[in-house]
């Protein structure tokens, strides 16, 4: 599997900024909005996925980031690293609370 990283966020500026910093660590990057995320994931077969906008305390039961995480996580192989990012506090091993140090997220996808 390639060292490709898929970055998913609703805001284009967040996608491109995350892609720019991840590429500094010698990773190929591709980006997608939540709407296109699953298709891109199945097409690109990335080594890792960073999913922004993850939230559970959201009126109506879930955020777009949470739905994207559920869909990609259940479709992923065990070798693919899936990381969720948001502003809430959670204890999940694959969750990173923003703001975070760059090394923290690189460690999670390595």
């Amino acid at each position: 599997m390639s060292k490709k990283v898929l970055i998913v966020a609703e805001a284009e500026v967040l996608r491109s900024a995350t892609a720019r910093v991840v590429s500094l660590f010698d990773r190929e990057t591709v980006t997608a909005s939540h709407n296109d995320a699953l298709v891109k994931f199945l097409e690109e077969e990335p080594h890792a996925v960073i999913i922004w906008d993850y939230a559970e305390k959201y009126s109506g039961g879930g955020s777009e980031g949470r739905a994207t995480y559920n869909d990609i996580k259940s479709s992923a192989s065990p070798e693919q690293k899936i990381v969720r990012c948001g502003f809430e506090t959670h204890d999940y091993a694959d969750y990173v609370r923003a703001p975070f140090r760059l090394e923290e997220i690189i460690k999670k996808i390595s």
Partner: protein, 143 residues
């Protein structure tokens, strides 16, 4: 991209078996454990799903709720949605065949509306390789 087969199954160990069967058959695999996830994937993967293999009993919603149990036969809704969208579908279930008569009748009735003929319906023990093979046969034999 290779053609996608959608798997609807809530048990992680069964999901892994299903993924292996789908990949060995030469397809890309999308998996969801709930009816809500299946409905979402029918939309986000519109026009890209070549076939569906579904379990029968799994939760309706993605999120925890006292009424969100895995005892309802949500797979019937997946079968109906696939047939409405003209997508071949098969059922992979471990339901005891002695207690499956009402399900068999519903699935048989739904299959009469399918462009691909009767819906393959495996029961008693889950065998994803058999279910995927039956789906692929059904995909090739569409009316």
């Amino acid at each position: 991209m290779k053609n996608i087969i959608l798997i609807v199954e809530d048990l992680p160990e069964e999901q892994e078996k299903a993924k292996l069967a789908v990949r060995n058959a030469g397809f890309v695999c999308a998996v969801t454990p709930t009816l809500a996830g299946a409905e979402r994937m029918f939309k986000t993967l519109e026009g890209k799903i070549s076939g569906v293999v579904t379990d029968l009993h799994f939760p309706e919603s993605d999120y925890d709720h006292p009424k969100n149990t895995a005892t309802a036969p949500c797979g019937l809704a997946v079968v109906a949605e696939a047939i409405e969208r003209t997508i071949p579908v098969a059922v992979c279930s471990d339901i005891d065949h002695h207690f499956a008569e009402y399900l068999r009748k519903v699935i048989t009735a739904l299959g009469r509306r399918s462009a691909y003929g009767p819906v393959p319906f495996g029961m008693d023990s889950k065998n994803w390789e058999t279910a995927v093979a039956a789906l692929v046969k059904s995909m090739k034999g569409g009316k």
